[in-house]
Symmetry: C2
């Protein structure tokens, strides 16, 4: 990494032009121009040296800078695309972006091993910024975005990266509320099927569960704590195992709605009724969950709103505003529907 005046386009320093890079590379202006335009007549070593400098200096052609300024596009990337969860985030982000006159490119987190080119590619194509959802993002990537001057916001990150604004929900409180709901109905054997173990939000929900048991002075039972991956299949397997326990739980808190569907299906397969034989609480409140049979009791997480807030935060950063807070947690609340009921006197 070459040391250079940290030209972020705002603080004093001259903006990076072809000449800047040419000087740094010790070559002439035309040579740098050729590299940028992919002309063949440049020696491989020269090309590579220049390419590296270009990236390090975060060079953006003036042409691009200008056209890009009026382009108004932001990127929204997921580690996987296809679930109702993603759909709701997309919904919120695109709506807030459209209101501000921005278009939203939707895609997957690029999987180049080091992700070296991602930030500079985005900066070169003049994106206003990037919102990264439920993905792991490395400190190195964060540094690249910062260097390239591309604002970055994360939603439900695996870990909250240092210095990056992150949007989430009150997961701990949500986990607490879900569990308290079951306890309040009179359940004493309450199981949890947690989400992906390394995800921050999953850990928070699990701690909420434990806090509720604790407050109710119920001894936690390791046999009732299972770790899923937020998906249906694995939760289905876990639920089968839980329901086959000699002393089976009467209430199950699943850390996502999809996992809750897995529990409901497992109950059906075992000939148990929901909520008569077993109560199920989910987490997310996807729009489909009120259409489940039975309509699912779940912790509402304002996904559309989270998308909106992420977008607004990003645009504020792009506009150079100071953020009030690096971490926003939007409120969750329990939506009691028909998948929970008091346990049968047993």
């Amino acid at each position: 990494m070459v040391s250079r005046p940290a030209g972020d386009g705002k603080t004093g320093t001259r903006s990076v032009t072809l000449a800047t890079v040419a000087r740094a590379a010790g070559v002439s202006l035309p040579t740098v121009s050729k590299v940028i335009n992919g002309r063949p007549d440049v020696a491989p070593e020269t090309r590579e040296a220049i390419a590296r400098l270009l990236a390090e200096y975060g060079y953006v052609p003036r042409a691009v800078k200008r056209s890009v300024a009026r382009q108004r596009i932001l990127d929204l990337v997921f580690d996987s695309l296809g679930s109702a969860y993603s759909m709701e985030i997309i919904n919120g982000v695109t709506a807030a972006a459209a209101e501000a006159g921005y278009d939203t490119v939707v895609g997957l987190t690029p999987n180049d091993p080091h992700g070296v080119q991602w930030a500079s590619r985005l900066s070169q194509s003049g994106r206003a910024g990037v919102i990264v959802v439920t993905s792991a993002i490395t400190a190195e990537q964060v540094a690249q975005f910062r260097r390239a001057g591309v604002p970055l916001v994360v939603i439900d990150p695996v870990d909250v990266p240092e210095g990056v604004p992150s949007i989430g929900a009150t997961n701990w409180l949500g986990g607490l509320t879900a569990t308290e709901h079951l306890l309040g109905l009179g359940h004493r054997r309450v199981a949890i099927i947690g989400g992906r173990q390394n995800a921050l939000c999953a850990r928070a929900r699990l701690h909420g569960y434990h806090a509720a048991l604790d407050a109710a002075r119920i001894e936690p039972d390791a046999a009732l704590v299972r770790h899923g991956d937020f998906g249906f299949e694995l939760a289905f397997e876990h639920a089968l195992a839980l329901l086959d326990l000699p002393e089976r739980p009467t209430g199950i808190f699943a850390a996502s709605d999809f996992q809750a569907f897995g529990v409901v299906e497992a109950a059906r397969v075992r000939g148990l009724r929901v909520p008569e034989d077993v109560s199920v609480v989910g987490f997310d409140d996807l729009s489909i969950s009120r259409w489940a049979a039975p309509p699912l009791t779940t912790v509402h997480q304002p996904l559309v709103k989270m998308g909106r807030v992420a977008c607004q935060t990003l645009l504020a950063m792009a506009a150079g505003e100071r953020l009030e807070s690096q971490r926003v947690e939007l409120a969750t609340h329990l939506v009691a529907r028909e998948s929970t009921a008091p346990p049968r006197a047993g």
Copy 2:
């Protein structure tokens, strides 16, 4: 509209520069530059005259032309965003686009009354083309896209616009298959809850239903034919009414999975079991439908594939290739799961 050499950037003519417009307006170069950059020091009449010429000549700054050429973005627009249906289309389009090195902007169909600016805005921002999903599109809009040179493809359109490639599924055959499945199980009173009545695909599914009854020599009963809007709520109401009929149907074909969930919930509310008391077939096979309780029997529609094909078709058009066919219908097939069974001997 001033007559001018139709400079589309390809056929011979010099490209339109600031100088072209300045000459036409009879002003100097700097004056045109000021108008473009919104500087205040231009007389209102001058400004307006220049602005008009700029539009007529379709002036695009060289800066923009260049950055746009390497931009590779296409647009994917929906009439509404949020359902699992949209998610699967997004999934297919973004995947195929990414493979071809394109980014996908996801958004809603703009609602400016005449949509006059839409096509030209897209062409000016250099989009490779637009995929329009489940929306009504007017002949006037189609003409505008053609004029602006922006390729257009539709998925499941309300009507197939003349001369526009459209992607769909074998909806008639799907409706036939779904109904035959119920008849094959021994059902004789089979109801349908159709989709939005004006949508092409809904009409095809309804005709498939009638064709199956016809082939089985079953007299259609108008009381068993209901028109929904593809959504849960209205289907729920219709299903309640159907189940309250003196001689209620033993099988119900819903023209979407969401509608099928409405039927399942209506049955639950009426204390009827699925499939023991009433069989339900959906249409779409959303990924969530195999996780429903009970897992839903439905007609699989390859939504992800449809998105892929739409994207490939669009990129072929953008590349100037001739299309094999203006209308592509991808195959549907029945997925028998647990929401259907023979009727009880009654």
